[in-house]
Structures are given as structure tokens and as C-alpha cells.
């Protein structure tokens, strides 16, 4: 193994016990630096969000201290993650399937701010966002809206809520909303590739290769 220098303590006891350091930061540090078996024993394996839900702050502080006492850092033990363990993980549990391709390249949408938001609160992946919106085609045809005033047949009185950044909506929305702040109203012009692509939406107003224009108001972030 490559003998790297042991990681250093970043936080003192007072800092840990205080309010400064969020659980998630603590978990991230431990996950990044501790050996697999250490994490497993302290039940710190897995998705950070889930760990944050189940582990108390006291537990995390204890684990953090134990890590430095025992020096069971990554690379100090043989991490025996065998194929069987990997295979056993595949279960019925609902999965967030990442559907974004790993391509790099310029973003396929543009954002114009129509009304400024608070410029401080931006949604993170997995947050629930609520918005009012109107969607039009380039020729001005409105193909969708949830605003009661605009849409005549609307029976809805609540903004659209969904978890952002997880591939549940078209990519232009996932990416666009992540750079909007709470209260902001923006105009998102999304190219077909990050909307409905070559197919469009059959049997609907959205034709193939359609660029979509949305006026979106980000009402809240949870």
C-alpha cells in the first residue's frame, strides 16, 4: 500500500459539540477517511442522507474520536468488499436512477432572470422545489401551465412540487432550477436535447426537436 500521511484532526472537541459543524460534513469526513470495516462497524456506510437520518450527533463525534485513536484510516486494512457483498446489495429498494449522461459540453439551456430571488437559498440535488410555470413552444403556443390565471381549465391551486436534480423532470429543468434562488422568476430556454429530443412527445403539442421556453417561479425549497 501507498503509505500516505495520516489525515489530521480538522475540528476540536468544542467545535464538534457546538452547532458549527453539520452532521453531513462530519459524515463526509469520516466516510472519506476511514477504512471500510470501521465504517461498517459504526454503521456509517451508505448514502450520506440516510446516515444523517439514523446517526445521532453524539455517535458521530464518538466515531470521529475513535477513528483518530485507532488510526483505522483508509488503506490501513485490506478492504474486503467482495463480489458477493456487491451482489447482495442489489435489492428491491427503490432506486434513484441517474439518467443524466456523463457528457461534458456547454449547457443546453439559457436562463434570463425576470425577477430576482433572495440570491442566498439555492436548491441542492434531492431538495423538494415548488414552482409555478408556463411552457411555450418557440412559436408561442402554450403547451403546459399550472398557473390558475393563465390556464382556463385548470383545477389546480398548488404549485408543482418535485425533487430536483434526480432525473424526474427534463434535464433542462433539473439543471435550470439548481441555479435559481428562492423567489426568483426566470425564463428558461431549453434546447430539445435537454427537453424531449428527437421524439418530442407523441400525441401532444410538443413536436420533435422542439426548443421549449419556460417562465418559472421558484416558490419554495424544502
Amino acid at each position: 500500500f501507498m503509505m500516505a500521511a495520516d489525515p489530521a484532526r480538522a475540528w476540536s472537541d468544542e467545535q464538534l459539540k457546538g452547532e458549527e459543524i453539520p452532521k453531513r460534513e462530519l459524515i463526509t469526513f469520516i466516510q472519506e477517511n476511514a477504512a471500510h470495516s470501521f465504517l461498517s462497524e459504526h454503521k456509517l456506510l451508505g448514502n450520506i442522507k440516510n446516515v444523517a437520518k439514523t446517526a445521532k450527533k453524539e455517535q458521530l463525534i464518538e466515531a470521529y474520536n475513535q477513528l483518530f485513536e485507532s488510526k483505522r484510516f483508509k488503506g490501513t486494512e485490506v478492504d474486503a468488499v467482495t463480489e458477493q457483498v456487491q451482489a447482495a446489495k442489489i435489492s428491491d429498494a427503490p432506486k434513484e436512477i441517474k439518467t443524466e449522461p456523463v457528457d461534458e459540453g456547454p449547457p443546453k439551456f439559457t436562463k434570463t432572470i425576470l425577477k430576482k430571488g433572495d440570491k442566498t437559498n439555492f436548491p441542492k440535488k434531492g431538495d423538494t422545489v415548488s414552482c409555478w410555470y408556463t411552457g411555450t413552444l418557440e412559436d408561442g403556443t402554450v403547451f403546459d401551465s399550472n398557473i390558475p390565471a393563465t390556464a382556463k381549465k385548470k383545477k389546480q391551486t398548488k404549485p408543482l412540487s418535485f425533487k430536483v436534480g434526480l432525473g424526474r423532470v427534463i434535464r433542462g429543468w433539473d439543471e435550470g432550477l439548481l441555479v435559481m434562488s428562492k423567489g426568483e422568476t426566470a425564463r428558461l430556454e431549453i434546447e430539445a436535447e435537454w427537453a424531449y429530443g428527437r421524439k418530442g412527445v407523441p400525441d401532444s403539442k410538443i413536436p420533435p426537436n422542439a426548443k421549449l421556453i419556460f417562465e418559472v417561479e421558484l416558490v419554495s425549497i424544502d
Binding site: P94, T99, Q156, Y196, K199, P202, I206
Partner: protein
């Protein structure tokens, strides 16, 4: 005389204080009243009932007359109708709502199939009146009423053709339309609460009863109905009913996208988890999905921004449910829903991790059952079409994993043959410039080929039964040997060839020779037997009975035909096999 008896009992009861009527009083009132009504004296009965002096009596005993009253109203004899309607209105006003409810629902429940539509139509407005009188306590009664009504309406035959829907002989359309009118005030009440910044909680009783009603409607009758599009039938009460149910769901605070994604996103630790399952039956949600994505119902209240892959993921749960049914109408709905969900997705775009989800494997298994076992030929054909469509949407790695899984689990020669043909197409695609990939070329291809180029039972494999599979695999091999030049060996087939010869080609050749010899011998003896037995009828060696009917014995001619066609089949296999052997020999012969 009944009328006299009625007057008597009423007069006597007027004197009784504090409504201390005896059971006999109730009985007499009921029997006399009923007889009067049945004899056509409704006008007199009306005047007795509206008399102020009799108010208490009517309040306690009046509702018992609902039964006979409703029967008369259903008969629709003009003479008595106005008075009977007036009696009904009066009772609805005076008597206790709970008792009226019981009486009215009893009538609905007891209606025989022939009179369900009429009874429901007659009693909806009275029921609504009674329920509205219950004020804040109405929720459970509304629920009870809706449940009873829907159970009866669901028994009505569903129209199949557009003409049947227009004629509405059994009254289903009429009842559905009437039901919508019936629920309106209750929906409005909940709607107000929902709008008012969620003054109403998710568990509000009335809201929950309306939710149950919508869910039940989605299951029966809506899942059984084949909706006609506006081009076929401009005015469709059933389409309007479906639309309104979705709008009601939305109005009472159920987000349609959330309903759709329930099964995909639910967390198992939700308290009262079982309750949740009951509130949102999967079958109802399957119908909801079909209405949205196939019938395009209520599209304008459904957001257009959902990602197509996410929608597919959600719908797979419902497709799985529908495709595991036996009713052909449900199978068809499942197939079309699958098709519509797939066409929104770009070809080659579904990632491999989708295959880790249970439904992405169970649905193809169900599809295979439809393709191979369904008695209806159009469904089998459609099943195959959708099967191929689903394959086309997977990306390369996912296709690979899918083919591997299917070859391991399908145990059906026809399906295996189809998969092998797809593998050949993928190899062909991968060999084209710029299409190279790790899955259908290079190191991953060979393990896949080993699953293709093998005999399930060695030399004893039944070649006739496995014909589809064998032919496709031989075609695949032949294609690869011709297309992939030996000195390029992009697929690795040439280095693997000696193993293929040992494990596949040689046992196949052996089996083929054995089978051919055997069948040719059988054929020869059958022909000889035919010559002998043409003079006298020979008793057959065995008989076959299906469903208590004996199948006609195989005549010698038929037997010969069958054997002959078996021999032809072997010739077919042999021709490809020989060609392959030739190719190998030519390549292996040193150039001199």
C-alpha cells in the same frame, strides 16, 4: 280498509306523548301506509303525512315507507307519481337523515340487475339531500353511500362499441354522469379547504371518502372500459366520467404525478404503511396511468415536464400488474401502456442500472408469457412488437445484460431464437465504423456467445423442439465467420473457434446424424406399413383424447407427412452446419 286503519293509528298516536310509540304502532302505520300507497291512495296518504298534527309521527315512522314508495316510483305510473314524489320530498325533509340514509341505501342495494340504473337515477338526488342535512358529520355516511352506489353501478354491463355507448341500453353511462352530479357538493366542500392553504389535512374524513370513491371508480368500471377517442365518438359520457374523476382527484389535493410515482418512490418506514396501500390500490393507479398516457385524459392538468425515463419507470409497476392478468382486455391495456411509455424514450438511451429494478425484468417475463401462451393472436403479435421496441430502447450495456438474462431464464426455443437474432444485429451494428463497444465485441462478447452456441442437453438435445434457437445460433455463427475477417478477429470468434467446435458443432453434428438416421428409418417403415395396411384398416397403436373428445387417428398419410417434414428440418439444419464447416475448413487450410 287500509285508509281507515291508517287514519286510526295516526289519530291514536297523536295522543301519545314524547313519541312513546309502541312496536305495534310502527307496524300498523307501515302496513296500512304501504297498502294505501299500493292501492293508489297516494293523495290521501300525502295529506295525512303533511298534516302538522302528525309531524312527530311522520318523523319517527315515515322513513319506513321508503321501500314501498320507491317501488311505486320505479313503476312510473303517471297517475300517482306527483303525489308520491311529494311524499318523498316531505319525508326527506322531516325524517332523521340517518334513518333515511339507511332506507334509501337499502333500496339501492336490493335493486335487481334489471332495475339498478333506474333505482340509482331515482335515488341520487334524495340521497344527496339527506347527506347534506348531516352537516359536519356527513363524511362516513357519504362514504357508505358512495360505496353502495358504486358497487351496484359496477355490476352494469360495460358498453364495448361506440354504438353501445351511445345507446346505453343498460344505463351505465347515465349512472356515471349522475354520480358526478351527486358528488359535486362534497367535492366543492373539500376543494375549499384544500385551496385555503391546506386547512384540510390529508386525513380529513370527507377527503378520504372522496379519494376512496375515485380509486374505486378507477378500478370498476373504468379499468374495464375501452374509451373511444373524440374522433370516433365526439360526445362520450364515459370519457367525461374519466376526466372528471381525475379532476376530482386533483381538486382534493392528490397530485397526479405523485399518484403515478407512488410505487417507485414510497419509503417503507411510513407509519400506517398498510393503510397507504389500501388507500391507493395499484390496480386503480394502473387505470389512472392508462387514462393519462394512452387515452390522453385530463392531459391539461398533468405537467408536461416529467422526464420520459422517469415516467417509464413509474409505469412499469402498472404494466407489470396488467400483464400478469388473464383477461385479454387488461393484457391489451398493459401492452399499449408499455408501448406508449417506450415510444417517448430515445432509442439506445435506457441505462443498465434500470435492470436492477425488479419490474424491468418481470415485465419482459410477463411479456414472453403473452407472446407464447396467449390464445389471442393479435395480442401475441402485439406482444412481440412491444418486446422488440423495449429492446431497442436499452443502451448497449443494458441490451447485453438483458440478452444474457433472457437466455438464462426463458427456456423457450422461440424466444431464445429471437434474442439470438437480436444479438446478431447488435454484433453487426458494433462492427460498423465508430460503433465499437465493449459489449458486443471484445471481452464481454464471448461469455454471451457461450450461452448462444450450446446445446441445452448435449447430443441428446431434441433438435426439432429447439429448432428456432439452433437455426438462429447457426446463422449467427455463419454471419460472424464471414463478416469478421480472420486476420481482424474483432469479435474474438476465431480464437474461440476450437472451443465452439468441440462444445457445439461436433455434438450438434452427432445429434443431427443420429436424428436423421432415426427419422429416415421411421419414414421408411411408415411407407412400408402404408402399403400393407392400405388393404385392411389397421387399428392404431394409441389414441389421443382432448377434453373428452377423441382426436381423429393419425392416418398413415399424416404420419408420413410429419416424419417427412422432420427430415426436411434436419436437412435445413444440416445445410447451415455444413456451410459453417466449409468456411472453417477453408480458413484453416494453409495458404500454399
Amino acid at each position: 280498509m287500509a285508509l281507515e286503519q291508517l287514519c286510526d293509528v295516526v289519530q291514536r298516536c297523536q295522543a301519545i306523548k314524547d313519541e312513546g310509540f309502541s312496536p305495534e304502532d310502527y307496524d300498523l302505520f307501515f302496513t296500512a301506509g304501504r297498502t294505501c300507497l299500493e292501492q293508489g291512495n297516494s293523495a290521501q296518504v300525502l295529506s295525512i303525512l303533511v298534516d302538522e298534527k302528525n309531524k312527530n309521527i311522520v318523523r319517527c315512522m315515515g322513513w319506513n315507507l321508503l321501500g314501498p314508495l320507491v317501488q311505486i316510483l320505479l313503476k312510473k305510473e303517471d297517475k300517482n307519481l306527483p303525489h308520491c314524489h311529494a311524499i318523498l320530498s316531505h319525508l326527506l325533509e322531516i325524517c332523521s337523515p340517518k334513518e333515511l340514509l339507511v332506507g334509501l341505501l337499502e333500496q339501492v342495494e336490493e335493486a335487481d340487475t334489471g332495475s339498478i340504473a333506474e333505482t340509482v337515477t331515482l335515488l341520487l338526488k334524495p340521497l344527496q339531500t339527506v347527506l347534506l342535512r348531516l352537516g359536519m358529520k356527513k363524511a362516513s355516511s357519504v362514504g357508505m353511500a358512495l360505496s353502495t352506489l358504486l358497487s351496484q353501478v359496477a355490476r352494469l354491463p360495460v358498453p364495448v362499441t361506440k354504438e353501445q355507448e351511445e345507446d346505453d341500453v343498460f344505463g351505465l353511462c347515465h349512472c356515471c354522469t349522475a354520480l358526478l352530479q351527486f358528488v359535486k357538493p362534497f367535492v366543492e366542500e373539500v376543494k375549499e379547504g384544500v385551496k385555503d392553504n391546506n386547512r384540510i389535512s390529508k386525513d380529513n374524513e370527507l377527503r378520504v371518502e372522496l379519494l376512496k370513491f375515485c380509486m374505486k371508480s378507477l378500478s370498476k368500471p373504468l379499468l374495464e372500459v375501452q374509451l373511444k377517442d373524440p374522433d370516433t365518438l365526439l360526445k362520450s359520457p364515459l370519457r367525461d366520467f374519466a376526466t372528471e374523476i381525475l379532476i376530482i382527484l386533483s381538486s382534493i389535493g392528490e397530485s397526479l404525478p405523485d399518484l403515478l410515482s407512488r410505487n417507485v418512490l414510497k419509503r417503507r418506514e411510513v407509519p400506517g404503511f398498510l393503510e397507504e396501500e389500501v388507500r391507493y390500490p395499484k390496480e386503480s393507479l394502473a387505470c389512472l396511468s392508462h387514462l393519462l398516457f394512452v387515452d390522453h385524459i385530463a392531459v391539461d392538468i398533468f405537467p408536461a415536464v416529467l422526464s420520459p425515463i422517469f415516467v417509464l419507470q413509474c409505469n412499469m409497476e402498472y404494466i407489470e400488474l396488467l400483464l400478469s392478468r388473464t383477461e385479454e382486455s387488461h393484457l391489451l391495456k398493459g401492452l399499449v401502456l408499455y408501448e406508449k411509455s417506450l415510444i417517448r424514450v430515445e432509442d439506445n438511451s435506457l441505462p443498465v442500472d434500470l435492470l436492477e429494478l425488479k419490474t424491468f425484468f418481470s415485465v419482459p417475463q410477463n411479456l414472453v408469457k403473452v407472446m407464447t401462451l396467449c390464445p389471442d393472436q393479435t395480442l401475441r403479435t402485439k406482444g412481440l412488437k412491444v418486446f422488440q421496441l423495449s429492446i431497442d430502447k436499452f443502451n448497449t450495456e443494458a441490451k447485453y445484460k438483458f440478452f444474457k438474462g433472457m437466455l438464462k431464464t426463458s427456456h423457450h426455443a422461440g424466444v431464445e431464437g429471437y434474442i439470438i437474432k437480436n444479438i446478431k444485429n447488435q454484433i453487426d451494428f458494433s462492427l460498423k465504423p465508430c460503433n465499437g463497444n465493449d459489449w458486443f465485441l471484445g471481452k464481454h462478447l464471448l461469455p454471451l456467445l457461450r450461452l448462444v452456441l450450446c446445446l441445452p442437453h448435449g447430443p441428446e438435445t431434441d433438435l426439432l423442439q429447439n429448432l428456432d434457437r439452433i437455426m438462429e445460433s447457426l446463422n449467427l455463427l455463419r454471419y460472424m465467420l464471414i463478416r469478421d475477417k480472420e486476420w481482424e478477429n474483432e469479435t474474438g470468434i476465431w480464437t474461440e473457434l476450437y472451443k465452439i467446435e468441440d462444445n457445439y458443432l461436433k455434438p450438434l453434428r452427432t445429434g443431427l446424424n443420429m436424428s436423421k438416421a432415426h427419422y429416415e428409418a421411421e419414414l421408411k417403415s411408415a411407407k412400408e406399413n402404408k402399403k400393407i395396411s392400405s388393404k385392411d384398416s389397421k387399428a392404431s397403436v394409441c389414441t389421443v383424447t382432448v377434453d373428452n373428445e377423441k382426436l381423429p387417428n393419425m392416418t398413415p398419410e399424416m404420419q408420413i407427412q410429419v416424419l417427412q417434414s422432420a427430415v426436411f428440418t434436419f436437412d435445413l439444419i444440416e445445410s447451415v452446419l455444413t456451410r459453417i464447416e466449409e468456411i472453417i475448413e477453408t480458413k484453416e487450410r494453409p495458404l500454399s
